[in-house]
């Protein structure tokens, strides 16, 4: 009998002695026996319940087939931080950093699960919940023989993401190695399942992989706190056979930015030290506060994950495989890893980042960082300020300081632009308009990720020449979707004296957004599909002309492009009654496209016969849909579309 049961029995006996004795001595006949009977029932019920108490078994069952949390190397996890820093803990707790990786649980899983059946890419997935366990029945992805793959059941043990999309990992059965479920759940109110290769820009014929071991080898580097991958080839056959990954904490927790907190927590257990520190208003010296580092070091704390980095040498990689990264915030990130600044699939050809989650790469090329003191924390705050009036959910979306979606982000240094007249003279746009927002010209949405356009995080100036040379949309044409590059180049020359680049006939005569939508690579098409739905662009360009081009993207070979086009189109009149799903067979997608064109053409013919050659609208007094379709088909046939993977 263990200590707990012994204590319960002892306490119950003492209670019985006092309560029962009094009742027995004062009771009569039947009431005495009633009291004794009730007591016996209570005793028996407690004894039964105590030996059958469920949580005990679950809590003590060892987790052997998934990564676990374990404090090592002076890390103590966020659980130790809350006692002294409840406000900071609370803001972090409500952030998407915390929930980037979670153990699968009722609270963590955002998708509807029990009894749900999903079909994606010809495979049926049957989702089931058994108590607090989440299961999926699906085809055996490891099946290599002939005939249909047998059905197997796998236990989902971990999730990734909780803001835009959520992905699910199941135990592979090989140590703590995880495999990725080939369907994912889309959040943000869109609430739908999709195939894994539909979430990103990947060539449509590249096939789907369950990425077995990927979390242990790659994802954990940024999606958990101080991970020890503990991967090795024990028998020397060239393949890893030991997968014993553990992390101090799943998700991005306090110590990811502040470094190991064990010494600090131990030190400040002493209340006299704490109160002495409060009264002296001095900061702790035994832990890193990124907010008090210089702009380079503090940005490196973010850049360790929000940058593209490679190991400085093979030795570092080998050490990482066993015990994780050696870098701790406050040190130089570049001592152990090199920042990558170019490469296909992640950068535009001039070195500007084009995939999301790598904002540090954009920051370090920014003059305000190189020549000034701008850091990630100039705009973003990892803890919502106590006097920030915004709801926590609003803050958690991008974790920006108040006002940082507007010009305050820039005017905290460039104070001259606080003056409305000065700002108007510079921007040539009306005060308060979207064109008067510094960001829209100097940090446009030229990064792709998470099925949307994302700001570049590199402060630059609108440049048509760069668009011609790299294919990257410039700020003018990303907002003025109905204008040509020639129009943008002339405006920039008139207003800012920027030399016009040499443009070909199409670039002079056809709206840039149309060229990028029809002739661009998958990344450009995805950005344009998103821009057609961007509210600022809609205000500047109108929406009445865009459906034919969004319709063309409804039959795009890339799933993600179709998904975004469908989303941008759905609230336009031309999409009324549209029967379309981005994962339909080709014939269904084409039918959807034709339906949009028909809706739009009918309205266009009836209401607007004005010619607009830059929008491919030709007229002879009457709108000619066939001429337009011919031009669209011609541009589509000129598309150079190399297989593109954008590694977000």
């Amino acid at each position: 009998m263990d200590f707990e049961l012994l204590s319960i029995g002892l306490l119950l006996s003492i209670g019985a002695v006092f309560a029962l004795r009094g009742m027995w001595s004062e009771g009569e006949g039947r009431s005495r026996w009633l009291a004794a009977g009730l007591w016996t029932v209570a005793f028996t019920a407690i004894a039964w319940a105590a030996t059958d108490y469920g949580p005990r078994e679950r809590a003590l069952a060892p987790l052997t087939d998934q990564p676990i949390e374990l404090n090592v190397d002076g890390y103590v996890s966020s659980r130790a931080c809350e006692a002294c820093h409840p406000r900071e803990y609370g803001t972090w707790y409500d952030s998407y950093h915390r929930t980037m990786t979670q153990f699968a649980s009722e609270e963590a899983i955002a998708a509807p699960w029990d009894g749900i059946e999903v079909q994606a890419r010809g495979v049926d997935y049957k989702l089931e919940q058994d108590g607090d366990e989440f299961w999926v029945e699906m085809d055996d992805l490891s099946h290599r023989g002939g005939g249909p793959a047998p059905r197997v059941k796998r236990r989902v043990v971990q999730t990734t993401g909780s803001h835009e999309s959520q992905f699910y990992w199941y135990a592979s059965g090989d140590g703590r190695r995880l495999s990725l479920l080939l369907i994912y759940w889309r959040l943000l109110g869109e609430d739908r399942w999709g195939p894994l290769d539909g979430c990103c820009i990947t060539p449509p014929d590249s096939g789907q992989e369950s990425e077995t071991g990927r979390w242990n080898r790659v994802c954990n580097r940024c999606h958990a706190t101080h991970v020890s991958p503990r991967i090795s080839d024990e028998d020397g056959d060239g393949f890893y056979d030991r997968w014993d990954t553990h992390a101090v904490e799943l998700g991005i927790a306090c110590e990811a930015c502040h470094g190991p907190g064990g010494a600090h927590a131990d030190n400040y257990r002493d209340p006299f030290k704490r109160y002495s520190a409060y009264s002296a208003e001095e900061g702790a010296t035994d832990i890193v506060n990124p907010g008090k580092l210089d702009h380079e070091r503090s940005s490196e704390a973010c850049g360790q994950c929000h940058g593209i980095l490679v190991f400085a040498g093979d030795e570092g990689r080998e050490r990482w495989r066993e015990s994780g990264f050696e870098y701790t915030p406050g040190e130089s990130l570049h001592d152990s890893r090199d920042l990558v600044m170019e490469g296909d699939g992640q950068f535009w050809s001039d070195g500007m980042i084009r995939v999301s989650g790598r904002e540090y790469n954009g920051l370090v090329r920014t003059p305000c960082f190189v020549n000034g003191e701008m850091s990630c924390l100039s705009c973003h705050g990892m803890h919502q300020a106590a006097d920030d009036p915004r709801p926590r959910e609003e803050w958690a979306d991008d974790q920006l300081h108040p006002g940082m979606r507007g010009n305050l982000a820039c005017t905290q240094c460039h104070k001259e632009f606080d003056d409305e007249a000065y700002l108007t003279a510079h921007s040539h746009h009306a005060p308060g308009s979207t064109g008067s927002n510094c960001y829209n010209c100097h940090m446009p949405y030229t990064t792709y990720g998470l099925l949307k356009g994302i700001r570049s995080h590199e402060i630059s100036s609108p440049d048509v020449r760069a668009s011609v040379e790299t294919g990257r949309p410039n700020a003018c044409n990303q907002c003025h979707l109905d204008k040509t590059m020639a129009w943008a180049a002339e405006g920039l020359e008139d207003w800012y004296g920027i030399d016009k680049p040499s443009l070909n006939k199409e670039q002079r005569e056809v709206a840039a957004s149309i060229l990028w939508s029809l002739k661009g690579d998958a990344g450009q098409r995805a950005l344009m599909a998103w821009s057609f739905g961007w509210e600022s662009a809609r205000l500047a360009s109108g929406t009445e002309w865009s459906p034919p081009f969004l319709a063309a993207l409804l039959s795009d070979p890339y799933h993600a492009v179709r998904y975004i086009a469908e989303r941008s189109l759905k609230d336009l009149p031309a999409a009324k009654g549209l029967r379309y799903d981005y994962m339909m067979e080709r014939s269904g997608r084409n039918a959807g496209m034709m339906q949009v064109l028909k809706n739009w053409g009918t309205k266009q013919g009836a209401t607007n016969s004005r010619a607009a050659p830059e929008l491919l609208i030709e007229t002879d007094g009457v709108f000619n849909p066939h001429a337009m379709q011919q031009r669209i088909n011609q541009l589509l046939s000129e598309r150079v579309d190399p297989p593109l993977t954008l590694n977000e």
Partner: protein, 153 residues
């Protein structure tokens, strides 16, 4: 002295004894659970992980409940003792039954919370918490018995 008067004298003596007993027990419980409160404050002061770590939130809740219920039941004992003295009801058998149940409740209710916090299972308290409903039933019985019989008197 007749047998009757002897009997009455004995009852008179026990009259004060039951009330005094509950006063004594009540003050003991108040002293015990206020001391426990002091211990909890010390654990706050020294940020003892075993008590304050967020993964031990259940323990913190259980101990807080033990402290508050123990103190409250101690006060209830004192009130019960004063009631018996004021009403001269110590010789009544209901008073002895209610008193016994009150004592049982004072042991099991806060004791159950205390034990439920010593051993915890993640978000669930230890099995000691199973004593709480028994203690609560005893407390209810004691309170209802007292209320009904005082009204009769």
């Amino acid at each position: 002295m007749s047998k009757d008067s002897k009997k009455i004298k004995t009852r008179d003596a026990s009259d004060g004894a039951l009330g005094a007993k509950h006063l004594r027990v009540g003050w003991c419980f108040v002293a015990l659970y206020l001391t426990m409160g002091l211990c909890l404050e010390v654990m706050h002061g020294f940020k003892v992980d075993w008590y304050l770590n967020v993964s031990n939130e259940t323990r913190r809740l259980m101990f807080t409940l033990a402290h508050s219920h123990g103190t409250l039941l101690g006060i209830l004992h004192i009130v019960f003792g004063l009631t018996l003295k004021g009403e001269g009801a110590s010789d009544a058998s209901w008073a002895r039954r209610a008193g016994a149940c009150l004592t049982g409740a004072a042991i099991l209710l806060p004791g159950g919370f205390l034990l439920g916090g010593v051993v915890i299972y993640a978000g669930d308290p230890g099995r000691g918490v199973l004593l709480v409903p028994v203690g609560a039933a005893l407390l209810l019985f004691a309170v209802v018995t007292t209320a009904l019989n005082l009204r009769k008197n």
